[in-house]
């Protein structure tokens, strides 16, 4: 258990590969695409990257408080568990598509899952 999940999964290169696949899935999913700003797609990609880095347990400095603050306006728009589930679904599908081994996918999913309450403002 010397190497972090981030390194085992492939580090920054893996993040880069995952981000665009994931963002395409999200943008075409009518359940959740209204929560993703489409006016500045470059900025959105940068945010998705931070998300994946976090899910892979990589270098990031987001605290639970940051996650809360960043999603307050979305919670006001009606963001709830069903939307969070949809994102988790796309996260899993993206990593499967990239042939990430199942055990690593579960590890990443568990990290992402741990932010649920903060993201949903619970």
């Amino acid at each position: 258990m010397s190497e972090s999940l981030y390194d085992r999964i492939g580090g920054e290169a893996a993040v880069n590969a995952a981000v665009e696949l994931f963002y395409r899935k999200v943008l075409t999913d009518h359940r959740i695409n209204r929560f993703f700003d489409k006016t500045d797609m470059d900025k959105q990609i940068v945010k998705q990257k931070a998300f994946f880095t976090m899910a892979f347990g990589g270098p990031n400095t987001y605290t639970g408080q940051d996650m809360r603050k960043a999603h307050v306006h979305l919670v006001k728009m009606g963001l709830d568990d069903s939307h969070f589930d949809a994102v988790m679904e796309h996260l899993g599908a993206t990593l499967t598509e990239l042939n990430v081994p199942a055990d690593l996918i579960s590890e990443a999913a568990a990290i992402a899952e741990s932010t649920r309450n903060d993201v949903l403002g619970k």
Partner: protein
């Protein structure tokens, strides 16, 4: 002399005990100089000196601390994930940049420099768009497809895209559409004469061609005078010997608002890898033109954009819609370059 020796002493204290480590460097911004300690980032140094600079994540993710180095190439790691065209212009992220040498830096809001330009030609391209050619001395750093601010003697300023390769002719070409009540465009159409002076800003924007991955497909989609940057990019790519397919879709609602149709057709005969499709969204579509909006026609013809480089210029709505579609149809976000032409609300139209 006293001040000088003081500075000297400080340097000695800072670097003296570890001579092999990276030394202190100097950051120059405008007329001011700031020291950057060894292993300190540019962002930390500027914050320590209470220089106002925007930032957020401090780890290269949010890109809000992007600055430009004007006297050399910034360290490679400080350009991580920036668009190729930004890298080429020596933009970097201050939070990731530990300087290897002294740097001259430009903050985003620093006032811009203008140089003198002289009108050497003006002629109509179609019923509402004029070709303006301006001679300007220092255009080596200008790229076809970027834009500049043109400023009239009384200070009225507007942005226009560069439609030619400035390095060749030492001139800049612009396609300027007449906007009803537009202070600047009406002046260009009705009053400007060969020999008149204009001030020309530094080049701006990241919508231009970089001579790499020459086998890549290039998709150019523009509406109206959005042809200006695209024509520049096209000429530049062909001049660099781009070998991948280059497809241009130029659209407007009526035939009379397209221009350079014959020249583009001629060019597509001369270059096997270049194809040109003029598109008309209105009802009256003569032979040789495609019916429909340029972006729709383009997406119908090229459904898989994976690996393509995409340039989108003109109407803001077309640009933002097409950007999303191009991405969803496989283009990588880093390969999509856009220039949306926002029409300024003429607050000064009464004059």
């Amino acid at each position: 002399m006293i001040a000088l020796s003081l500075i000297f002493t400080e340097h000695r204290v800072a670097t003296g005990d570890c001579p092999y480590k990276q030394k202190m460097t100097n950051l120059k911004i405008g007329e001011k100089n700031y020291t950057c300690n060894s292993e300190e980032t540019v962002l930390d140094s500027l914050l320590r000196h209470e220089v106002e600079v925007s930032y957020a994540c401090k780890k290269g993710t949010c890109q809000s601390c992007m600055l430009q180095c004007t006297d050399g190439i910034p360290p490679e790691n400080s350009q991580k994930d920036l668009k190729d065209t930004l890298k080429k212009q020596n933009y970097f992220l201050a939070c990731l940049c530990v300087p290897e040498q002294d740097m001259t830096i430009k903050l985003p809001d620093q006032s811009e420099l203008f140089s003198d330009g002289k009108v050497i030609a003006n002629e109509m391209l179609n019923r509402n768009t004029i070709l303006l050619i301006v001679e300007c001395l220092d255009v080596l750093e200008y790229n076809a497809g970027q834009f500049v601010n043109l400023q009239r003697a009384d200070g009225v300023t507007r942005s226009y895209s560069i439609a030619n390769r400035p390095q060749e002719s030492k001139t800049l070409e612009f396609h300027i559409r007449r906007l009803p009540g537009g202070k600047f465009s009406e002046w260009v159409h009705d009053e400007i004469k060969v020999g008149d002076s204009l001030s020309v800003s530094e080049p701006k924007g990241h919508c231009f061609y970089i001579p790499e991955r020459k086998e890549q497909g290039i998709l150019l989609v523009g509406t109206g005078s959005g042809l200006a940057p695209l024509a520049g990019i096209l000429t530049d790519a062909l001049a660099h010997g781009h070998s991948g397919p280059i497809q241009l879709f130029h659209g407007s609602s009526e035939r009379e608002d397209l221009y350079r149709v014959d020249e583009m057709r001629q060019l597509s005969k001369q270059h096997q890898n270049f194809s040109y499709t003029p598109c008309i969204s209105g009802a009256d579509v003569p032979e040789g033109f495609k019916q429909g909006r340029a972006n729709t026609v383009a997406l119908n013809e090229i459904s898989d954009l994976k690996g393509w480089r995409v340039f989108l210029c003109g109407h803001p709505e077309m640009v933002s819609q097409m950007k999303m579609q191009a991405f969803l149809q496989g283009a990588s976000m880093g390969d999509i370059y856009t220039d949306a032409f926002h029409v300024r609300q003429e607050e000064d139209s009464e004059s």
